[in-house]
């Protein structure tokens, strides 16, 4: 039973990490209606830049600031080169443009910093929390808890930002209709730079946490793909949805990884007469879950229902 809780909590905390990446997506989608496939590449770029700077001798905070500045530059460049020429194009075009952006960022990252994997130290170790281990016998990582805390703070801050500020309102207008927002005098370009910068900040934080956990390597770009099932469950436009979705995906992924092979390997092997090993199904399980969810509720838990007017 204890093991179950351990797996569950481990999954929830992993889910928090997914939520972080999903958050970056939600920000950009909420504010500009663009599904930014390049978020994963941004995470990779941020992590790689930071790590390389630290290895070159810069201190933590200096490296952090320089990397953040780099993300701002990327935001400005993206707005100028990619978004501005494509204003008011159908969403699918913008989506494909972000795929192109992904490749550019990946290539640039490795061009500047090389392609070896790096380790990242944040000072918090991936060791079990002693107090919990002693009192409940459960092994839960300090690092995971720390990540959850950071994510929570970030989410709270962002939620406030969107709901309470004037800029937040402007962002929501832009997400709805670019041309209408322009017509009302909302400075589209500035808004986009702001949004992508904030998303860049989220990517930086995600990059640090993920990088510390799994090492900074090319596979980090695929975290973007991991966030997709989260977004589907939570809805593309909801910050709360990103959190809840992340938790659900993280938990179910871990649970499926451990328990499905445990329960199904033997019966299936017997039934089919060959040795069956269902290990590794966490690669596709989140997607299948998201898919099943989509069929029941296409707009996600917190998403807005889409009504077509004919």
């Amino acid at each position: 039973m204890q093991f179950f809780f351990e797996v569950l909590i481990g999954g929830l905390l992993a889910g928090v990490m997914y939520s972080l990446v999903a958050l970056g997506f939600v920000l950009i989608y909420k504010a500009s209606g663009v599904f930014n496939f390049a978020q994963g590449a941004m995470v990779f770029f941020a992590a790689l830049t930071f790590v390389s700077l630290v290895e070159d001798g810069f201190s933590f905070w200096v490296a952090f600031l320089i990397t953040f500045a780099a993300m701002v530059v990327i935001a400005i460049a993206t707005e100028r080169v990619v978004l501005r020429p494509l204003v008011n194009q159908p969403p699918i075009t913008l989506f494909m443009a972000t795929i192109g952006l992904t490749f550019v960022l990946e290539g640039l990252s490795q061009l500047f910093w090389g392609s070896q994997p790096h380790g990242l130290e944040l000072g918090i170790t991936d060791m079990p929390f002693e107090w919990l281990a002693e009192n409940t016998g459960m092994f839960i990582s300090q690092f995971d808890l720390f990540a959850a805390l950071v994510a929570g703070l970030l989410v709270a801050g962002l939620a406030l930002f969107f709901q309470k500020t004037r800029i937040g309102r402007a962002l929501r207008a832009v997400a709805d209709d670019h041309q209408a927002a322009l017509a009302v005098g909302i400075p589209l370009q500035q808004i986009w730079v702001i949004v992508w910068t904030v998303a860049g900040f989220v990517a930086l934080v995600s990059g640090l946490l993920w990088g510390a956990r799994n090492g900074v390597q090319f596979a980090l770009t695929f975290t973007a793909l991991k966030a997709l099932p989260v977004l589907i469950l939570g809805g593309f436009e909801s910050v709360a949805g990103a959190i809840v979705g992340g938790l659900i995906i993280g938990a179910s992924e871990k649970l499926a990884e451990i328990y499905i092979p445990q329960f199904l390997n033997a019966p299936l092997s017997e039934a089919w007469g060959v040795s069956v090993n269902l290990a590794g199904l966490e690669i596709w399980f989140p997607y299948a879950l998201a898919l099943a969810f989509l069929l029941i509720r296409p707009e996600g838990l917190f998403g807005e229902k889409h009504i077509d007017r004919v």
Binding site: F35, V81, V82, P85, L86, Q89, P91, I92, T93, F95, M96, A97, I99, G100, L101, T102, F103, V104, L105, E106, G107, L108, Q110, L111, G114, S115, L225, L228, P229, I232, F236, V274, V276, N277, L278, A279, G280, L281, I283, W284, Y287, A288, A290, L291, L294, L295, P298, D308, V310
Partner: protein, 358 residues
């Protein structure tokens, strides 16, 4: 002034609806086909045939398949490689377990298997659209690769799921040289391209485009959405499946499920974005572009750097490739969203008027 349709009047609807209405086009295409079938086998060297032309044709076929689904029917798919994998492994198993079956029939049946898998993963398209559908196809992508690796039966219990293609023998004629493989692939691709062109200019193609452009209106005029979407998935996956089989049997030879990964799916997607979505010609142009670009870079990056006096660190070419690909996608989406095919069309229109400016 050479490329004019002056004087070419069509007096039957049949003539008006032919694939190449302008005589110069017909002559041009005939010449290209004659060149491809008769001249290339004679002058082509091994490298050109095996490393450039055959993969170009195989990927053109996969691009055709994806274009039918995403370009014509408007259903975004990121699972192209998965359907190719199904085709490859199905062909392998047919040839292995039913040796009496002619290999062309095996290829066709492997396409049918891929089509069935395509229909299953296309079912969600009845409820979901756009990016969400892309996720369903991603599920297909990851699941298929996992299943082919996990269940040893598919690869005849070889380690890590590797399969080696058997020899291609048709009517006692062995296709083992690059020239023979090239001609086989060329023949299959030509026939399937013609079939695709016929489909997209008939009512099934119009139904696909209607669903893409405005599915509510399509439903109102009586088009059956479910039937149309699933047919698009089926036909598209058939094409990708056959492409996968050809990829294994006439190009790579030894293949494992991991080779049909998401990067391959993206590659084919780029082919149709750059070549032109919703265009048969575009599939070919895009495939040519994406096949030739890395070779171009590989060959010319070093000499160019030397000329410019730059020192190229190792691994730069693959990164450059990434940057250039990405940049080109963005460029095309801004400048010409309909890709190379549209640019070709515009060029032809300008040629019609030449030497006049308009």
């Amino acid at each position: 002034m050479l490329y004019r349709d002056a004087g070419q009047f069509k007096d039957t609807y049949s003539a008006d609806q032919q694939i190449f209405p302008i005589r110069q086009d017909r002559i041009g295409v005939t010449l290209v086909l004659l060149f491809a079938f008769l001249v290339v086998p004679v002058i082509g060297d091994q490298y050109w045939l095996s490393a450039i032309l055959i993969p170009f044709l195989v990927f053109a076929l996969a691009a055709l398949g994806l274009n039918i689904l995403t370009g014509y029917a408007g259903q975004l798919s990121l699972g192209t490689a998965a359907f190719m994998a199904v085709g490859a492994f199905a062909a392998y198993n047919f040839v292995l377990r039913v040796p009496a079956m002619p290999i062309l029939v095996s290829f066709a049946l492997s396409g049918v298997m891929a089509a069935l898998v395509g229909i299953v993963f296309g079912l969600p398209s009845l409820r979901i659209k756009g990016f969400y559908l892309a996720v369903a196809t991603l599920a297909a992508q990851f699941f298929v690769v996992w299943a082919l690796t996990k269940f040893g039966w598919f690869s005849n219990f070889s380690s890590s799921g590797v399969i080696s293609a058997q020899k291609v023998v048709i009517l006692d004629y062995v296709f083992d040289t690059p020239v023979r493989k090239y001609l086989l692939v060329l023949a299959i691709v030509t026939v399937m391209a013609l079939a695709a062109k016929n489909m997209v200019r008939s009512s099934v193609g119009r139904a696909w485009m209607a669903v893409r452009d405005m599915d509510v209106a399509a439903g109102v005029i009586g088009i059956r959405l479910m039937h149309t979407k699933l047919l698009a998935f089926a036909v598209s996956s058939f094409y990708c499946g056959v492409a996968g089989a050809l990829y294994t049997y006439c190009y790579i030879g030894t293949v494992e499920p991991e080779a049909f990964n998401i990067e391959l799916s993206f590659r084919v997607l780029f082919m149709i974005i750059i070549g032109g979505v919703g265009s048969i010609l575009g599939s070919f142009l895009g495939a040519a572009f994406i096949t030739l670009l890395p070779i171009f870079l590989n060959t010319y990056a070093e000499p160019l750097a030397q000329v410019l006096g730059l020192q190229l660190p190792p691994g730069i070419v693959s990164n450059l490739e990434l940057i250039i690909f990405g940049g080109l996608i963005i460029f095309f989406l801004i400048v010409e969203p309909l890709g190379l095919a549209r640019m070709w069309q515009i060029a032809k229109e300008k040629m019609r008027l030449w030497p006049f400016p308009h």
